[in-house]
């Protein structure tokens, strides 16, 4: 059981590290993502 908990801790830490490193990259400007209006906002504008 102790071995499994250590393995779980190591895997979760590795996943967290990958996430941390990937979140350092400025994906939004690199990929040129423009935040579109959400479905709710689009609906509201349509009916105004």
């Amino acid at each position: 059981m102790k071995k499994a908990l250590i393995q779980l801790f190591l895997v979760v830490s590795a996943i967290a590290l990958v996430f941390f490193l990937l979140s350092r990259v400025d994906w939004v400007s690199k990929l040129g993502i423009k935040n579109l209006p959400s479905i709710n906002e689009a609906k509201i504008e349509k009916y105004l």
């Binding site: 499994a4 996943i15 996430f19």
Partner: protein, 143 residues
């Protein structure tokens, strides 16, 4: 001979097929499971319930398949509801969101490869122990 928690078993052809199906269950529903992560978990839970009275080899592998899906379920659910929030509310796509989606994509690919390998090996009546999940499975089956 296969050793599960001090018990030596020699699975028959039928047992190997049933144990392999526990992993296949999560692969078959993968197309449905991508948009709705809970589907994979429900499929493996149903398979486990259906096989809980069967032999040790089948039970052990259905529990291991269930635990591996449970691990993915928590990660995928968070990503799913984050995506829903971006589509339906005023939340925006951020660097953290893209990083999270890439991370869970990588974890899913690793899990998919491990599941295919486990399905193939158990079909050949070989005992596959996934890291982390095998130890927890031993604890659950022992009770």
């Amino acid at each position: 001979m296969i050793r599960i928690e001090g018990t030596e078993i020699n699975p028959s052809e039928h047992e190997a097929e049933a144990a392999s199906s526990s992993y296949l269950m999560s692969l078959v529903v993968v197309l449905v499971g991508i948009p709705l992560p809970v589907i994979n978990l429900i499929a493996t839970i149903m398979f486990f319930i259906g096989n809980r009275k069967k032999t040790l080899f089948v039970r052990w592998h259905s529990v291991q398949a269930l635990l591996s899906q449970l691990f993915l379920f928590f990660m995928n659910s968070y990503g799913f509801w984050w995506t829903i929030a971006i589509i339906f509310t005023s939340k925006e796509i951020t660097n953290n969101y893209i990083a999270y989606i890439l991370t869970i994509f990588m974890v899913n690919v690793v899990e998919l490869v491990a599941t295919i390998y486990a399905a193939l090996e158990t079909r050949k009546a070989r005992h596959v122990r996934m890291p982390i999940f095998a130890e927890f499975t031993d604890q659950i089956i022992k009770r």
